[in-house]
Symmetry: C2
Subunit: 219 residues, 2 copies
């Protein structure tokens, strides 16, 4: 593992690389090809990859397997990461069945909901507990990550309970701002705003002229 800290920009592109590299057939892959497929500059790709892998070779590129391992190592998904889901409504239960988690080393440890009875209920092979159990659960299993999928009206209250339970980072699907203390990170997953952003970009793209053959990917 490399010791130099990765830049924020590089860090945000690593998931993109990993997601792409996992689809690559064959044993070798070059930065040129990756760049073309992701709509990035090839120098940038090379620089990013250089930060997390020493496996590049002139003329041949990177061994796919090794690059993939290096990316996973850099992203810290070589070991299981545990997270909880708070809010077992439509979105919450949909995420419980999301097929991407296990591929990326992520394990949803449990779900919590205000309307769960005190007795654990199950969804598939996942337990849904009452919110009152959140703190003891997170502390017992040392869970630091949470996905927030309650309605906007309940978001702040739920977030407060997550913070009190020791959650250090929240993926917020509720379409509203939540206030948290400085040591907690919130990543917004406001689908409506993401769409508004895309809509803007579509309008802006029309004024520009692109030369790459494949489409631009955004993290």
């Amino acid at each position: 593992m490399q010791s130099t800290t990765l830049s924020k920009a590089t860090l945000s592109r690593l998931p993109l690389y990993l997601q792409y590299v996992r689809t690559v057939e064959g044993s070798m892959i070059s930065a040129t090809i990756i760049a073309r497929n992701l709509g990035l500059g090839e120098v940038q790709v090379r620089k990013d990859l250089r930060m997390i892998s020493q496996a590049g070779q002139p003329k041949v590129g990177y061994p796919v397997q090794q690059l993939r391992r290096d990316l996973e190592m850099a992203l810290g998904i070589h070991q299981k990461i545990s997270a909880v889901i708070v809010g077992a409504g439509k979105m919450g239960t949909a995420l419980m069945d999301y097929d991407g988690f296990h591929e990326y080393g992520l394990e949803i440890a449990a779900a919590f909901d205000n309307h769960a009875s005190q007795v654990p209920f199950r969804h598939g092979n996942m337990s849904i507990y009452a919110m009152s159990k959140l703190k003891s659960f997170c502390q017992q299993y040392d869970v630091r990550l949470g996905i927030l999928t309650v309605p906007a009206s309940a978001a702040q209250d739920a977030a407060d309970q997550m913070v009190a339970s020791g959650i250090a980072a929240i993926l917020n699907f509720a379409p509203c701002h939540i206030r948290v203390p400085a040591h907690v990170i919130v990543r917004q997953m406001n689908v409506a705003l993401a769409m508004a952003h895309l809509n803007l970009m579509v309008h802006q793209e029309n004024k520009e002229q692109e030369e790459t053959h494949y489409g631009k990917q955004i993290v």
Copy 2:
């Protein structure tokens, strides 16, 4: 509306501002307060807001209502935006019920699925059509935005059909890379990778020392 193009960085923060401003009580709000609540620098906030609003006044700040209108105008959500959902599984149907869309001027025009029968089926007040109807629908109603919520194995095929239907931007929930032509924008919504990213940040944050009182928000 301002004519100068907004920088990419500014653009990505506007949703955050709007989401926050909508929660503000009272008639005036200052950049200082906004910055503190979003974990950003106050100069940066002032600079961003300056780009989209001329309503700032020394000592008092911005009128909340006006700032909100300006943000909505800049984000282009003062008018209805239409989008389609492709994939009416758990995630797709959960998004149909997402409570954030109407607040942000977004209208889900219809949903499409491979397993829908030829006769339209309804979920709530939304129609679910067969994929074969996608192209004619998008062209008839001039829909340019799509949300992709099919399993990873079906993602590329579905994306191809969306592109062929005239979709210009895709919000991709499938945990995989999809290849699109250069004029199409893809925004990844890989929840697992977002969590991995958060996990990394939590580990990195521990090494730093933060001084702001409220937590850092990520778009």
